[in-house]
Symmetry: C2
Subunit: 98 residues, 2 copies
DNA sequence: TTCTGATACTTTATTTTTTAAAGTACTTGG
DNA sequence: CCAAGTACTTTAAAAAATAAAGTATCAGAA
């Protein structure tokens, strides 16, 4: 009964944009909204929405501050997020085979 | 401007269930509806829908025949599907890093 | 100084996907 | 024959992704 265990693939991470965000964030300490936007090519709206989902899942920590009067958002992986990322990668490898 | 090129990730393949189907089909010559269902754990409805999407994309060839009076469906990757699969894997590797 | 365009976001609405539910058709075991 | 199971498809409902519009600030040009 050795199934291809699809349910083990983390939904939250699997979405394309979020996958890109996680991949990028896994390689840096933190990143700004603008950096994430440039790296992933996402629209503002998309980025905002998906960043929030990752935040709600506890995978990224989003910090909002002001530079002068302009809002400035930075994101970084949480410990939980890093773990989820590693797990996701493991599952993917298993799924994709040898 | 070296972006994480998310758009290069094939939408059709990326969906979880279809990813599982492609992964499984890439390792066998062909498979029956029942085998695919067992391997992926998908419900009948889901499998039917996603199999059709893969078919519409030209990635799998679905053949329907009768064994006695019962319908029997088998699926196998097309050449195009195999290529798309390899491309997908390449893109994924690139995205996920080193 | 006032207008224009750009940055930095969020919220809401629209569309697309995914999943779940129900339905059809046939077969097999009791 | 009847109940239960296989093998699907179709339709409807839920969830997700994308796009559009809106708020607020800033920076440069007229």
């Amino acid at each position: 009964m050795a199934e291809f265990d699809l349910n083990a693939l983390d939904e939250v991470i699997h979405g394309k944009l979020r996958l890109g965000l996680m991949a990028f964030l896994s390689g840096v300490d933190h990143a700004s909204f603008a950096e994430l936007k440039a790296q992933t090519g996402a629209s503002d709206g998309n980025l905002s929405v998906h960043l929030r989902k990752l935040e709600e899942a506890g995978y990224v920590l989003v910090e909002k501050s002001f530079i002068g009067r302009k809002p400035h958002t930075t994101a970084k992986l949480t410990a939980e997020g890093r773990k989820a990322w590693i797990d996701y990668l493991d599952q993917l490898k298993r799924l994709l085979g040898p």
